[in-house]
């Protein structure tokens, strides 16, 4: 069941004196001896009530998505009238609007998907390479470079945000001045995923811990078989590190799917938007409090589309989410 208890796989976390993070202990037990059934029933009742509170916003969102215009906020959990707010005839404003008619939502979904998956795939692979180098190879400056890498985790993104934007701006101007080059720069989607090609300190740290837990003999044996460094990495290290790779991948997909600020900075053209940025724009446009057009059902439908892929990802990789966050924790 658990990641760490797969046969032949090394334990998910290796203990390290430098690592004050909580460790996952596979043998489970209850700290207290048996609770009386009355106490236990009380606890369960409490948890059920809390669960309803925690899940209520989702249920509310789902039901609001399927209500017709004007009934969005009647707070009935089962809509009085059902309505499909995603697609429909394209009739101008006094009539209810439909999500896919008012904006290129299909483009947004597609953009978010390919950027998330490409970015996460790149980060997963490149971070693994870097982590493997820090874990396996002995080379001059290794400890210094690793300390530098750890230090970069402390740096808030705001510090580098502006010069990186200006860098992309320069690249954009350069590529526009040379028509034989593809247009790369601000206003394109490259700034959203190209930084993923260089790995990410957090994942490098996580994966290095993992690689350190794999016995060196495995790699030496591969070297004996005549493997080069890279094929050893690809044939031995990568397959063994699968749990760590999956954690990296899903965390990065999540981070990319969540990200509002980067698209906000770099994207101009509505067709290039990602879902969060597009939804922010729809909210500004239809929220009546901001002088919008009051088609709340469109906002609700869009928000549901923003939430659903993450729920599916979580359902598919639940144990990795829990393991990953339990071992490292990321923004709580």
């Amino acid at each position: 069941m658990s990641v760490g208890s797969q046969e032949n796989a090394p334990p998910f976390v290796t203990s390290g004196a430098t690592n004050p993070m909580p460790q996952v202990v596979r043998r489970r037990w209850r700290p207290q001896p048996k609770l009386s059934w009355a106490t236990r029933a009380l606890f369960v009742a409490l948890l059920v009530v809390l669960s309803i509170l925690f899940l209520y916003p989702f249920i509310w969102l789902i039901s609001a998505t399927f209500k017709p215009r004007g009934e969005t906020f009647d707070n009935a959990l089962i809509p009085h009238h059902w309505a499909w707010n995603f697609t429909g005839p394209d009739i101008p404003s006094p009539h209810p609007q439909y999500l896919f008619n008012v904006a290129p939502v299909g483009h947004w979904l597609f953009n978010s998907f390919w950027i998330s998956f490409l970015g996460a795939g790149l980060t997963m692979f490149v971070s693994a390479m870097i982590a493997f180098a820090f874990a396996y190879f002995r080379f001059p400056l290794r400890n210094f470079l690793f300390a530098v890498l750890l230090a970069t985790m402390m740096l808030p993104g705001e510090v580098t945000m502006i010069p990186v934007y200006l860098l992309w701006n320069h690249i954009g101007r350069f590529t526009l001045a040379h028509p034989w080059l593809p247009h790369i720069g601000t206003g394109t989607q490259y700034p959203l995923w190209v930084p993923n090609m260089f790995g990410s300190a957090f994942y490098i740290f996580l994966q290095r811990q993992f690689f350190l837990g794999i016995p060196r003999d495995y790699f030496e044996a591969a070297r004996m078989d005549g493997d080069g460094y890279f094929s050893m990495f690809r044939r031995i290290a990568l397959p063994l590190a699968k749990p760590a790779l999956i954690v990296t991948f899903i965390f990065e997909v999540q981070a990319k799917w969540f990200d509002l600020m980067t698209p906000l900075i770099y994207l101009r053209d509505a067709a290039t938007f990602t879902v969060p940025l597009g939804m922010k724009n729809l909210l500004d446009r239809f929220n009546a409090a901001g002088g919008g057009e009051g088609d709340y059902q469109v906002i609700m439908a869009g928000t549901l589309l923003l939430v659903i892929p993450m729920v599916i990802l979580f359902a598919a990789f639940q144990k990795y989410f829990i393991r990953g966050i339990a071992t490292q924790g990321r923004k709580g």
Binding site: P22, V25, P31, V159, M197, F198, F258, L260, A289
Partner: protein, 329 residues
């Protein structure tokens, strides 16, 4: 190098020479090839931009300079002086501190309570509820921002409807400047699942024999909690505290989605002022006013604050955080 052998102090090659000879090894070259992507990214996307950002914070870099219409002028400490006298920056800083102070303790306390209950109801049931409590944590911030606006709406929001059933007249959460930060913080507390999972893992890691010994000594349940559980999970608590504090100081997306619009602003001016967090102010200065120099100074001030707070936390933690030896469980 030759002087070393002449003096006869080091019989073999010198330390420096041995170190340099490391660069002739094949393994070294392979390793540097492996970490090349990171090195490249570090210089172009981290170190270089850091240096540039530090430089810009001492210049008047702005829209004119981006367009190449005007020369970049160094202005000394003028940007930092401006922060000292900028009422909006002070407001943003104050908002951010208030928000962080509300969000972090509440989130940790709720997460700890949930984890303490979950650890007691058994593995199977605990797992089911853990999943349920974790789900809000996978909600994108923009969706959270939308939910804040509608669930907490003063007129028709479900929160106020629910409070009315209990006979309480709820405030206008998303309009009343006094209630905006608590509202965002409440929605953040809702997403405490991540913290809870970390604390739950820590709770499972507390050795059972400690409780047995404590109860043998006649310690009450409460005493056991304060003298066994809390010290044993203090590293995890401390880790959550640091991570959440940094996340709070950098909070952007939820507040921006709910209270700042590209189309003239969602709420009134009062609403915008109450929800103006530091990261939002920085973003607006940099990418709406294009005051890049000033925004860079703001970013370095934020970095300084983050470092200071983390440093204080680490110093204080020496007194309270108990690190067990490498042996666990």
């Amino acid at each position: 190098m030759s002087s070393v052998t002449v003096n006869g102090l080091a019989p073999g090659p010198s330390r420096a020479r041995r170190w340099l000879s490391g660069f002739r090894e094949r393994e070294t070259w392979a390793a540097y090839l492996f970490i090349l992507p990171w090195l490249f990214g570090f210089f172009t996307l981290t170190l270089g931009p850091m240096l540039f950002s530090a430089y810009y914070s001492f210049t008047n870099y702005g829209l004119q300079q981006i367009a190449g219409l005007d020369k970049t002028k160094t202005v000394g400490l003028a940007n930092y002086h401006r922060i000292l006298n900028d009422g909006t920056a002070h407001l943003a800083l104050k908002n951010t501190f208030i928000y962080t102070l509300m969000m972090v303790p509440a989130r940790i306390v709720l997460a700890l309570l949930l984890a303490l209950v979950l650890v007691r109801v058994g593995e199977r049931l605990g797992g089911v509820f853990r999943t349920i409590f974790y789900i809000p944590h996978i909600t994108p911030p923009v969706a959270v921002g939308v939910l804040v606006l509608y669930l907490f709406n003063g007129g028709f929001g479900v929160v106020n409807k629910g409070l009315a059933h209990l006979g309480i007249k709820g405030p206008y959460w998303t309009i009343d400047p006094n209630w905006i930060k608590p509202t965002i913080a409440l929605m953040d507390i809702w997403a405490c699942g991540g913290t809870m999972v970390i604390l739950l893992a820590a709770l499972y890691g507390v050795p059972r024999h400690l409780y047995e010994a404590a109860s043998m000594d006649g310690a009450s349940k409460l005493r056991q909690f304060f003298n066994v559980t809390l010290p044993m999970i203090s590293p995890a608590l401390f880790f959550c505290f640091i991570i959440l504090t940094l996340a709070g100081l950098n909070q952007f997306a939820v507040a921006y989605t709910a209270f700042f619009g590209s189309a003239g602003g969602v709420g009134s001016t009062g609403t915008n002022e109450a929800a103006l967090l530091y990261a939002i102010y920085l973003f607006k200065e940099a990418f709406q006013s294009f005051e890049m120099g000033y925004a860079s100074a703001l970013a370095w001030v934020l970095f300084g604050i983050c470092l200071t707070i983390t440093g204080i936390n680490v110093l204080v933690s020496r007194r309270f955080v108990f690190y067990q030896g490498s042996e666990r469980s």
